[in-house]
């Protein structure tokens, strides 16, 4: 291949970039003076929470901002030429040609009524000046490179005929086919499963390396950054607070925000008794001017100067700058410390009483075309009193269906569900889980009202107690959901779930819609409540690091079946099912040293359709060690008396 060694010359340089959003409540300074440079062939990751301005910054480069966003000042130098003052027409010659883009949601970036061929071939003809035949060949070549099977046939598909991962591959093929010098990727894997994410990242990495393109990669996932980037820019409140080489940022972060972020991720070695460090508070409201450092309210090392004067980026190592008055942020080599002492290290010991029992549970959905979706296929699970069961698996594996069955929101096709007491739920999306027309007090009181618990004043008292139990001020009872942040809403969701003293709380991806800095707060809350109240949890997530930290036992699901079950630490330390191994392998670890040693190739292929299940082992189509026996004969999970169960012919 035409591999070009990256020549160290600057490709893109931002100088004091400002982007404003004019809203009815004031001007939001989304990007507030950002300057940095990308060398040729370099992969720069921009990390930050939602609202930190990372996407606005990336979109400002090509002026792809949505209304009411506007680039308010600064220069964008591409190859030494200022493109921030070009006309739309001149910019269009650069978009797609010199700079390719890959966005988060491939469904909305692809035209749903156009075949892939039509969407790919014409830009290639225009950008590379090829005729239709050559352009088509080129398109097929790129589809093959990004890992689309049978590209000659799939090029005539419509976007809806492809899975999310396949669509994202098409987006990457489109972005790279014009041989751009720079690729801007805005959260390209956020909507995807961890195994598919690993594949996509691998594709992006090898192909940009091959073509010598530089890359600006926007993400909130620090693990991905470690796997992928050469350099990292950490953004907070519209500014870059730290910039440097990936090894330096992870080994010796200099800004308190970076240090805190790295601390909030549960590491693989962390004990359950250790409290997860958390960043207090919330990011600032960008509608109001900020005096001094934007992070001062949440920073343990903040002092007088931070409140008056905003620090500028200053050198703190080779190619490493940070915007903090303190030379080492929170302290030499420090990361965030947990605020409260660790929990007493009480190893979990079930007292034998079973709170939840699923026996040979099957659930099928009839679709309109007389087809049957087999969502859950013969699941046996038990949850003991005070135990947390983590359920992990890719989307479509049936884990959310199990949650709905547990709560009685769906009726099982066959099998029994036994629950001692009441099951309650914390939903994934804090935006849609509350009636926008009700106050927080009304929302938390609803279960009590429906079940006719207590008198009105008693209920009011109960609401106060519940709201403070989840760490909110009881004054929140008067507010409406839209006035709360995502983390606060998730606390309210927990309060509502606790209202009727349930014996088990089912949490379906309770932290996946939250920002990294808030996530740790919610996880700590759940663990504390579990210890204080002795309730059981069913914690459903695709975030394996969090599940390992929070769960006592783990059930790994694949295509509606449990393929591995056991104590959380054991499953992580010694995964026996090839699928569990692949899942754990795919998780990006926020440590560049570990990531650079990563040799195993990511799990290939995607989840088969639950419409027609294979006769043998469900995982055989993707399993690296599958044999004819696997394809013919289904491995059964041993009876559920065993503490460790694996459904694989070759696990031992």
């Amino acid at each position: 291949m035409n591999y070009q060694a990256p020549v160290k010359t600057t490709l893109l340089e931002l100088r004091n970039l400002h982007t404003d959003f004019q809203t009815s409540t004031g001007t939001v300074k989304a990007v507030d003076g950002v300057s940095f440079a990308i060398e040729r062939g370099e992969r720069v990751a921009v990390v930050g929470e939602s609202g930190s301005g990372k996407s606005a910054m990336a979109m400002s480069i090509l002026r792809l901002l949505t209304h009411p966003g506007k680039v308010a000042g600064g220069e964008v130098l591409l190859d030494g030429r200022d493109i921030s003052r070009l006309s739309e027409g001149q910019l269009n010659a650069i978009r797609g040609r010199l700079v390719g883009t890959v966005f988060q949601d491939p469904m909305s970036s692809l035209d749903p009524v156009m075949r892939i061929s039509k969407q790919m071939i014409e830009p290639i003809m225009r950008n590379l000046r090829l005729n239709r035949e050559q352009a088509r060949e080129e398109a097929i070549k790129w589809l093959g490179k990004v890992g689309i099977p049978e590209p000659e046939r799939r090029i005539e598909a419509y976007p809806f005929e492809m899975s999310g991962g396949m669509r994202q591959r098409v987006m990457i093929a489109m972005a790279l086919s014009s041989r751009p010098q720079l690729v801007i990727a805005d959260e390209p894997t956020t909507a995807l499963d961890v195994t598919i994410q690993a594949q996509i990242v691998e594709v992006l990495k090898t192909l940009t390396e091959e073509s010598g393109a530089a890359m600006l990669f926007i993400t909130h996932d620090l693990g991905l950054v470690a796997r992928f980037a050469h350099k990292v820019a950490v953004m907070y409140a519209g500014r870059i607070v730290e910039f440097g080489r990936v090894e330096d940022i992870f080994a010796s972060p200099a800004h308190p925000y970076t240090q805190s972020l790295l601390g909030t991720i549960p590491s693989t070695a962390m004990l359950k008794s250790e409290r997860l460090p958390q960043i207090p508070g919330l990011p600032p409201d960008m509608r109001f001017p900020i005096t001094g450092c934007a992070f001062k309210e949440r920073c343990a090392a903040a002092h007088d100067r931070c409140c008056v004067e905003a620090p500028r980026l200053s050198q703190c190592g080779i190619d490493h700058t940070a915007a903090c008055w303190a030379p080492h942020g929170l302290g030499e080599g420090a990361t965030l410390k947990a605020e409260r002492p660790d929990r007493p290290n009480r190893p979990f010991e079930p007292d034998g009483s079973v709170v939840v029992e699923l026996n040979a549970l099957w659930k099928q959905f009839d679709t309109s075309r007389k087809m049957v979706v087999r969502a859950v296929n013969g699941v046996n699970l038990r949850v003991h009193k005070g135990e947390t069961l983590g359920i992990v698996g890719e989307s479509g594996c049936g884990k959310s269906t199990i949650a709905r069955l547990l709560l009685g929101l769906e009726k099982p096709t066959s099998g029994d569900i036994f629950i001692a007491g009441l099951a309650q739920m914390v939903f994934q999306d804090p935006a849609s889980s509350f009636n926008p027309k009700m106050t927080i007090g009304g929302i938390v009181a609803e279960p009590l009202v429906v079940r006719a618990h207590g008198s009105k004043p008693e209920r009011k008292e109960a609401v106060r107690r519940l709201i403070s139990q989840v760490g909110l001020d009881p004054a929140f009872a008067e507010r409406y959901p839209h006035q709360l942040s995502g983390g606060q809403r998730q606390r309210v969701a927990v309060a509502r779930a606790l209202a009727l003293n349930p014996s088990v709380v089912v949490a379906d991806e309770p932290t996946s819609a939250l920002d990294v800095s808030v996530r740790a707060q919610i996880i700590n809350l759940l663990v504390d409540l579990k210890q204080e109240l002795g309730i059981s949890f069913v914690f459903i997530s695709h975030d394996l690091l969090t599940v390992r930290y929070i769960a006592d036992r783990i059930a790994v699901m694949y295509l509606g079946e449990v393929v591995e079950y056991g104590a959380a630490e054991e499953v992580f330390a010694d995964p026996r099912h090839p699928y569990t191994k692949a899942l754990i392998d795919a998780v990006p670890v926020p440590d560049p040293a570990i990531e650079s040693r990563r040799t195993s190739t990511p799990l290939q292929g995607e989840l088969p359709s639950p419409l027609n299940l294979p006769t043998g082992c469900a995982f055989a189509s993707r399993c690296p060690m599958a044999t004819d026996r696997c394809r013919a004969e289904k491995p059964a999970l041993p009876t559920h008396d065993l503490a460790r169960q694996v459904a694989c012919h070759y696990a031992s």
Partner: protein, 295 residues
């Protein structure tokens, strides 16, 4: 759990609802389209309300000594072939128009809410039964349907209101049903179902309050439309019957004399236009205020 408490932003007093509605009122009155609408509609409304006490001839009173008179201070809109005061008759007609508009909006809102909620919430047979009827009604243009119904039910204000409502109710059912369908799958409904909330509770507490805004906008559009349809029916001689005045039948009466006395038809026609434009801007303004993206 002291360490988990967040720095609570100060609670606003007085209650948030009051503050919210004050902001809403301010935004409402400062919206340019709403202002234009109020400039057009408020004088007409005031004149209509105070018509009985204004010093002028009663709408049905004839004066054969002052037939077909050009507009003057005494007869602002002039007089017709029987010497009746056109201005007074126009205001009486506006009264009828407003009555029709409000009644139709209220009927459509109530029936649309109830039937649309039932169809969307329960689905299955109930949905199919309601929606089949709705689809049949929607197959006819609303004015044509109203004409047909009035010719069956007879003329007069009650048949006119019923006929226009019957044409509007299916649209409201459709709208309500589609809103309910999208709300039904929201997580807060599931949350209420996990504590075994009754279906009545789900519908009244969770679904209907969240559909109200869109339905009110639709009702304001329906009211404007009903006023125009009533005028059209009366103009065609199918609505309000003379001598009872209605904007439509005043225009109809005057069209024979367009060459000798243009004011008989033209001036009430201008009032129809002003009301229609005013209500259009009002409903547009309300819609934009409720959904900022539609601007």
């Amino acid at each position: 759990m002291a360490d988990l408490s967040l720095p609570a932003t100060p609670t606003r007093k007085p209650s948030l609802l009051a503050v919210g509605s004050a902001i809403a009122r301010h935004r409402f009155l400062s919206h340019p389209k709403v202002r234009l609408a109020l400039v057009l509609l408020v004088p007409i409304l005031l004149l209509t309300i105070f018509a009985p006490v204004l010093p002028m001839q009663k709408p049905l009173e004839t004066n054969l000594r002052a037939m077909m008179q050009f507009p003057s201070i005494e007869h602002v809109f002039g007089t017709d072939k029987m010497g009746r005061d056109i201005f007074s008759r126009t205001l009486a007609g506006v009264q009828i128009s407003l009555l029709v508009g409000f009644s139709v909006a209220a009927i459509a809102l109530v029936f649309g809410m109830v039937l649309g909620t039932l169809a969307g919430f329960y689905g299955g047979m109930i949905d199919r039964a309601i929606m089949t009827v709705v689809d049949i009604f929607l197959a006819f243009p609303s004015l044509l349907l109203a004409i047909g119904l009035v010719s069956v039910m007879g003329t007069g204000i009650v048949p006119v209101i019923l006929a226009i409502s019957l044409a509007d109710v299916p649209r409201f059912i459709r709208l309500q049903r589609s809103q309910v369908l999208s709300l039904r799958s929201r997580a807060f409904i599931d949350a209420a179902r996990t504590v075994d909330a009754s279906q009545y509770w789900l519908m009244t507490r969770h679904i209907v309050p969240n559909t109200l805004a869109a339905m009110l906008v639709a009702a304001s559009i329906a009211a404007a439309n009903a006023i125009l349809v009533e005028a059209s029916l009366s103009f065609l001689g199918l609505g309000i019957m003379p001598p009872q005045p209605s904007l439509g039948n005043i225009v109809r009466d005057g069209q024979t004399y367009l060459e000798q006395a243009w004011w008989i038809s033209t001036l009430p026609g201008v009032v129809i236009l002003l009301i229609a434009v005013g209500l259009h801007f009002l409903s547009d303004g309300v819609r934009e205020l409720l959904d900022p993206r539609s601007r």
